[in-house]
């Protein structure tokens, strides 16, 4: 068995999220160094505030300011901070019940070591220098010896409220496609297209995924297909894709390689877009150093009979 392939895969996306009235007030408040909670119908104050009561599902809109000081209700010592976490030096994760609140907020506490924190430790907010209206406007908490902080008297009304956040997310993977697809990609590097034959229905699947989607049984027998094939269906692309250096319009097609039981897709070149047709015989065009065909071009053969590929549409 050839070596299984592996490659880094980074999934990164800036999630843009809109805010409801309560979340908007809370995050705008943080920008202004003000902490707001929301009152429930039974008189409790939830911080951070939510728009619906977690128990009764009542609509909650009654904003109330709480202090920037509070008490640790539970904690955990994080000796090895991870990417994206509030501090890059060892810190305590804490749930903090701010003075005036009945529930606790999750954040980080900046103390030198685990001996400097316990449940009941008094803390205050350390504000971020630059604040945009996000939970990270609280840089972290820090120990606090004095009295509870005085609220500022905010009503929760702001001149320029924050209405959305952008939350970037990045996850790093080391992707492995498994046995069947690794073998397929390895063969492609020698410009050969190899599928796998189902032991039950005898169709050849390209690219192979190790299982026959019709029969639900494992496949293992490798079969070389192509290089020539037949266009089974196609579409004309009129919108230029970002980072893709192909002039529009162009044709994207399903191509049944000779010997394959399934069509794969690829771009058709070497022929005006409006002359591509079902049944057109094509062959791959490779560019130097490429790991897969750049596009497919007409072979010049007569078109295939419809009956020859109708099962592959």
């Amino acid at each position: 068995m050839p070596e299984v392939l592996k490659a880094p895969l980074v999934v990164e996306f800036p999630f843009t999220r809109s805010l409801g009235p309560v979340q908007s007030a809370f995050l705008t408040g943080l920008r202004e160094r003000i902490v707001l909670g929301v009152k429930t119908t039974d008189g409790r104050t939830l911080v951070p505030p939510v728009e619906y009561d977690p128990v009764t599902a009542d609509d909650l809109r009654d904003l109330v300011e709480v202090a920037a000081t509070g008490t640790v209700t539970t904690w955990a010592w994080n000796h090895a901070p991870r990417r994206g976490q509030p501090l890059d030096t060892p810190f305590a994760w804490v749930l903090v019940r701010l003075d005036g609140a009945d529930t606790a907020l999750l954040h980080a506490l900046d103390v030198p070591g685990p001996d400097a924190v316990r449940t009941g430790t008094r803390v205050r907010i350390r504000w971020a220098e630059e604040r945009t209206g996000a939970i990270t406007d609280i840089a972290c908490f820090e120990p606090h010896d004095g009295d509870p902080a005085e609220p500022t008297g905010s009503t929760g009304e702001f001149a320029d409220p924050v209405t959305g956040i952008v939350a970037p997310a990045r996850l790093d993977y080391s992707y492995s496609p498994g046995r069947a697809q690794s073998a397929y990609i390895e063969e492609l590097s020698t410009r050969r297209t190899v599928g796998e034959r189902c032991p039950s229905c005898h169709k050849v699947y390209v690219p192979p995924r190790g299982a026959c989607p019709t029969c639900g049984v494992p496949t293992a027998e490798q079969v070389e297909v192509g290089p020539r094939g037949t266009v089974t269906t196609f579409c004309i692309v009129n919108i230029k894709a970002k980072n893709l250096d192909i002039e529009v319009p162009y044709v994207y097609a399903h191509i049944a390689l000779d010997g394959a039981g399934l069509a794969l897709h690829g771009r058709i070149g070497g022929i005006p877009y409006d002359q591509v047709r079902m049944g057109l015989r094509v062959e791959p065009v490779w560019t130097d150093g490429a790991r897969y065909p750049d596009h497919y071009r007409p072979t010049g053969e007569p078109d295939a009979d419809y009956d020859a590929y109708k099962e592959l549409l």
Partner: protein
């Protein structure tokens, strides 16, 4: 559906269960390649073919794979063409089993294939799981799954319900009994280790691993045809708590208690329980919520502290409970699955074998 059966409701049972060995990495296998042996194992046990299955439901997560619609590739393993009656939950397979159970209750199908799988090895699981958190107030801080479990463990310690040695004992017992479970990832004596996030040490945390599981459900007489001792689902229910950790009492699991009550778990004692408690402190919380005393055999499989393949570990709990009934080792068993941070969502199933 509650423990009080609706008149005329169909009896539905787990008739077959299979699971893979859980391994730290499975680079050589794609998801469908990992899944195929367990799919064929449950089919072989019942003599069914994929085309005989009335409904198929799966559980998995794109975030583990790092690819959108990743479950569609796994469908190849059940012969999805020609079209089948099929559904998917972006959750643990225990919830797929719940969906399949409701489908069988409607009478639209007599048999169901439920499967789930997860490969945690390609990514960094602690980071990946942060993406299931509240995206406004919590996820931007990237609190990882171990950190959140550690907050729960400290709350339990502060409440005087456990100490670090009691936590260590949970992990040690799980891995000791797992020596009898050839599928488990961590077996035998495992050092309690250093703090991962204090107060949790590595021994209090589940191993990160890849694995898959599959179950077949059948209704009424069909179940008796397919299995000599079906594990009848007497009740099944799932409940959820507020996503904000600061609103919840982390030392308790009211959603588990409510799900158990609605599933009829408290009507008569169970002899066996399979609890999905990925972290040691969570087993203590769950035992209390489910009122399990020492007369109940808990997690003889080793539980999630011995093997915790994401998206499959909950289904494996239900499958392990059912398999004990199949083998005549239990007459009334409880299966529990959890999802989300600090036992946020909980599912409880009560399974029974026919009287002997």
């Amino acid at each position: 559906m509650t423990g009080e059966e609706t008149p005329g409701a169909r009896d539905i049972a787990v008739v077959a269960f299979a699971q893979t060995d859980v391994l730290r990495t499975t680079d050589e296998l794609s998801e469908v390649e990992m899944l195929m042996p367990v799919l064929h194992s449950v089919l072989d046990r019942t003599g069914l073919k994929t085309a005989d299955i009335g409904f198929t439901c799966s559980g998995s997560s794109d975030y583990l794979a790092g690819r959108a619609f990743s479950f569609t590739l796994a469908l190849d393993g059940v012969g999805a063409w020609p079209p089948i009656s099929e559904s998917h939950v972006e959750m643990d397979g225990a919830w797929a089993l719940y969906e399949a159970w409701t489908k069988l209750l409607t009478g639209d199908a007599d048999t169901a294939l439920v499967y789930s799988y997860g490969k945690s090895s390609p990514g960094s699981l602690r980071d990946v799981l942060t993406r299931q958190l509240d995206p406004y107030y919590v996820a931007p801080l990237w609190p990882d799954s171990v950190a959140l479990a550690a907050l729960q463990a400290q709350a339990l310690i502060d409440a005087g319900q456990a100490d670090e040695s009691a936590l260590a004992a949970v992990g040690a017992r799980s891995r000791r009994v797992a020596t009898l479970n050839s599928h488990a990832q961590l077996r035998g004596t495992v050092p309690q280790g250093d703090y991962a996030v204090r107060p949790l040490r590595t021994g209090d945390c589940p191993p990160v691993g890849d694995g898959a599981a599959a179950v077949i459900l059948a209704a009424g007489e069909r179940a008796r045809d397919l299995c000599s001792r079906p594990a009848w689902i007497r009740g099944i229910d799932h409940r959820i708590e507020a996503h904000s950790l600061g609103v919840r009492d982390l030392t308790d699991s009211p959603s588990t208690r409510l799900a158990a009550e609605k599933a009829g778990a408290f009507e008569r004692p169970v002899d066996t329980a399979e609890l999905h408690a990925p972290f040691s402190a969570q087993e203590i919380v769950l035992r209390k919520a489910l009122r399990l005393d020492d007369s109940v055999r808990v997690n003889l499989s080793g539980g999630a502290l011995a093997a915790n393949p994401m998206m499959a570990a909950g289904l494996i709990r239900l499958g392990e409970a059912a398999a004990r009934i199949h083998r005549g080792e239990s007459d009334r068993a409880l299966g529990h699955a959890t999802s989300g941070p600090c036992l946020q969502q909980n599912l409880v199933a009560v399974l029974e074998g026919d009287a002997r």
